[in-house]
Amino acid sequence: MMKFLYWKKTGLFLLTVVTLLALAACSSDDASGSSDTGEEPDKITAWAWDPNFNIAALELAKDAYEEDLDLEIIENAQDDIVQKLNTGLSSGSMKGMPNIVLIEDQRAQSFLQSYPDAFYPIGDYFNTDDFAPYKLAPTSLDGKQYGLPFDTGVTGLFFRTDYLEEAGYTKEDLTDITWEKYIEIGKDVKAKTGKDMISLDPNDLGILRVMIQSAGSWYVEDDGKTVNLVDNEPLKKAFENYKAMIEADFVKANSDWSQFIAAFNSGDVATVPSGNWIAPSIEAEESQAGKWEVAPIPRLDLNGAVNASNQGGSSFYVLNIPGKEKAAEFLGATFGSNEAFYQDLVLDVGALGTYAPAADGEAYQAENEYFSGQSVISDFSEWTEEIPSVNYGLHTYAIEDILAAEMQNYLKGKDLEDVLADAQAQAESQLK
């Protein structure tokens, strides 16, 4: 009996030792990085967010793909994808990583440069010249194309025709205007209709990015690294415009996405300057059908600024793990070259890609009843071609948090030159 117990305990002890060894073995190879070995998997997985848009587009691509492919599409919130990729890739283990993943353009460089070799170059699987140039810069690194450009994120000025009419403005008055003019109209609309002009989240400076890209500028210079805030003329203008808007008292504050949607669905605001992906959310309020139209986005009052910009927009990437060829072939044959697929994408999902040959298709010319019969898609794809190409670089969100803090100081009355100089100094010390 005693002996039996003794053995049992030794067994337990051995078990513990074995477990420890096994665990130690698991954690010891943190430097080995991605593995090219391993068997070709039967199933290809893809991660994306937004079921009405990106997921729907992937489903459509799966149906359009002629080869036999077992594609599993997994929906995650964008924040979760960013988090999972960061933890997964930095652990060095590619276990549990998807084959295909959607990444926002403004974050892409951060991933490509943080995790070299984690992504598979897919430039050979499609013709990069078919895509809008402003999409290629953020999706490539060192001359290699890593991302397959997806939705445009082209911006437009969505506006309520009835409110604007009440204040005495037509679509022509909103077409090809500057932000200064926009603010002027906004004050008038507020005075005459009592409606706010725009809804903004004080924590989100997305509108600044829209403004500066229309003048071909960004928070960093063309190398993607040198911080460019202090002598950045477009950024200065954008700050001034932002303050003017807040002070004009026509901004309805929101603090998250659902409040933002509610601001225009409830009819409280007259305009929504935003990426084209907002259209399905506007159309969701059926009682306002026929009361909306889209004008080109206002531009900065500077030479070289255009009435076209970009907000959001993302692209597909293939991870450097077994199954990468299959995944790349799938993307190349659908999002990379299939014109008919892009027509379906516009009709069924309302997603506007950046694949230029598709723009001549019939679906792109269709009139949209909701937007008072305007050929919305055709207008958007026309503006897409004008979007100035900028290098978003690595630090968009880090710099934006610094700017957000300084914006508060600026609104409180701090001098603009000082605001930008301080932001520049902070950014330079932080982003080495």
């Binding site: 960013v82 960061n86 930095s90 951060s110 943080s114 004080p202 924590n203 504050a253 803090a405 508060q408």
Partner: protein, 308 residues
Amino acid sequence: MSKVMKRTGLPYTASKKSLGRRLKNNYIGWLFILIAAAGISLFYFYPMIRALLLSFQSGMGANLEYVGLENYIRLFSDPTFIAALTNTFIYLLVQVPIMIVLALFFSVLLNDATLKFKGFFRTAIFLPCVTSLVAYAVIFKYLFGVDGLINKFLMDLSIISEPLNWLSDPFLAKITIIAAITWRWTGYNMIFYLSALQNVDRSMYEAAKIDGASSFQQFFYITVPMLKPIILFTSIISTIGTLQLFDEVMNITNGGPGNATLSISMYIYNLSFEYSPDFGYAATVSYVIVILVVLLSLLQFKVAGDDK
């Protein structure tokens, strides 16, 4: 022992045998704690050491390299970190005392022997504690929104003439966060005081009453000294909790406006996942929390604890 000696008749071998048995007993005893010790080493100490090593490295994502003390030096010139630290201390210095006093107040009220529906009130005050952090934070965000219930309520009472921007004003946003944490954690601390109060001898209060002590005197000269160890315990726990504040800030204000409500933990999150990932520097910032927890706990022991 003597029995054993008698039976064998050889004291020397007997003691040798018992030594052997003692060793064996020890060995078996060690075996029992081995699993727990190995588990703690593996899941606590090993990650702590790795994190410490990580805090001496810097670089984007997987491109980490050793930079010595550079991360620690960087802390002092990082305005965002200093803002996060300042905010955290504001939360700490304002919120923890308010909460401790409130919890003490409620627990004394609810300990009153003549109080009716005791169970109901106790449950009601403790209940916030069982809610999910994220869920309650989201609800607070809507309560304090521009169109939220709080603004409507204050306007209906004519206390304010137009809605306050609770979430986008740097000062009011801090108030909102403090109000949220206080609501969530007061009941939790109250339970500690309530249970400690059950151990305070009622005869002391009776004696004090006979001697003519007022309720205030009873509270300050009996209740508070008797609860001293628990007050120390709850203030340490609350301090640690506040230093790790994350969910509320993340969900209610997202650190904004600017970084007016940013907490240290949220800055760690931003460094790892929101910006270009720098896990090395993020680990350095998290070690600051460790150092602060140790220092503040020592301080509280010194100030409030007995020197035994």
